[in-house]
């Protein structure tokens, strides 16, 4: 089964990298959307369905935490699993984001197979 993903990160370089390693990992990708902010992600989700969201935390404006809150509060969007990708590997931050509704947490740096494994685990749980 091929999946539709949304990458949310204010860094174009990081979005390109994540998209690239998803391809390198052999993950079955049907479509990959990108958003440069949480606001842009929420706009996009009004018109495009995705199977999972990969999001950064620290972004200008609405951050990843607020994005998770908005997803959880939205009846249509709350079922879309979100995986956080962050340089912050502290237990404190991971627990906080998982409590806010994140379904997975990937710490940078990561290997392509780690990203694939996290996606497959998360999507396996939801399908």
């Amino acid at each position: 089964m091929a999946y539709r993903l949304l990458i949310v990160d204010d860094s174009p370089a990081m979005r390109t990298f994540v998209r690239r390693v998803i391809g390198l990992s052999g993950f079955d990708l049907a479509a990959c959307f990108e958003a440069a902010s949480a606001e842009e992600a929420l706009d996009l989700l009004r018109s495009e369905w995705v199977d999972a969201i990969l999001t950064d935390i620290n972004m200008p404006g609405m951050g990843g935490e607020e994005l998770l809150r908005c997803l959880a509060a939205d009846e249509m969007l709350r079922s879309i699993p979100a995986i956080v990708i962050s340089t912050d590997s502290t237990h404190h931050r991971q627990e906080r984001l998982l409590a806010l509704g994140a379904r997975g947490y990937i710490t940078k740096p990561f290997l392509p197979e780690t990203l694939r494994s996290e996606l497959e685990t998360t999507l396996g749980e939801t399908t």
Binding site: S11, M14, T16, F17, H91, H92, T107, K108
Partner: protein
């Protein structure tokens, strides 16, 4: 924490980020001050316990090669802005990886990376003991950590 432990953690963080995110290997180099070179310099400030700054300097050819590997593009096709953005991400990831090795239970707040082209020596006397110099295929990378307060 002893400066040697911090230096070891910095060493591990640099190796880990280069290997996993840039598919690059770094070899150790003798840290000697050399002539001025064209560099990309980045820094990331962090707040927590401790607070401080991670400084990163990289020779421009090495920066372009790393950026090309990161983005999956040819180095000759990359703009200076794209190269600088990738080096900012490199500094950000090394800083995050280092801090998690030093204090995994403390929350840190990292600033956005600041990156600029400059001409100067890669290794400087002011770099301090928590520094790492790495030889890359197309140049060299210098990373230094400066803490405002003593580590617990």
């Amino acid at each position: 924490m002893m400066a040697t432990c911090l230096a070891d953690a910095l060493h591990e963080a640099v190796e880990d980020v280069l290997e996993k995110m840039f598919f690059a290997e770094a070899a150790p180099m003798d840290a000697e001050t050399g002539p001025p070179e064209e560099l990309l310099a980045a820094h990331v400030d962090f707040e927590g316990s401790p607070s401080g700054r991670l400084n990163l300097r990289i020779t421009v050819p090495a920066a372009r090669a790393l950026a090309a590997d990161f983005l999956g593009e040819e180095a000759s096709d990359l703009s200076p802005d794209a190269t600088a953005e990738v080096i900012g991400e490199l500094a950000n990831m090394i800083c995050g990886s280092l801090l998690s090795r030093v204090e995994s239970d403390t929350a840190f707040r990292l600033s956005a990376p600041v990156v600029a082209f400059e001409t100067g020596p890669l290794v400087r006397e002011s770099d301090g003991p928590a520094s790492r110099l790495a030889a890359l295929e197309s140049g060299a990378l210098r990373v230094c950590l400066v803490c405002e307060s003593a580590l617990p």
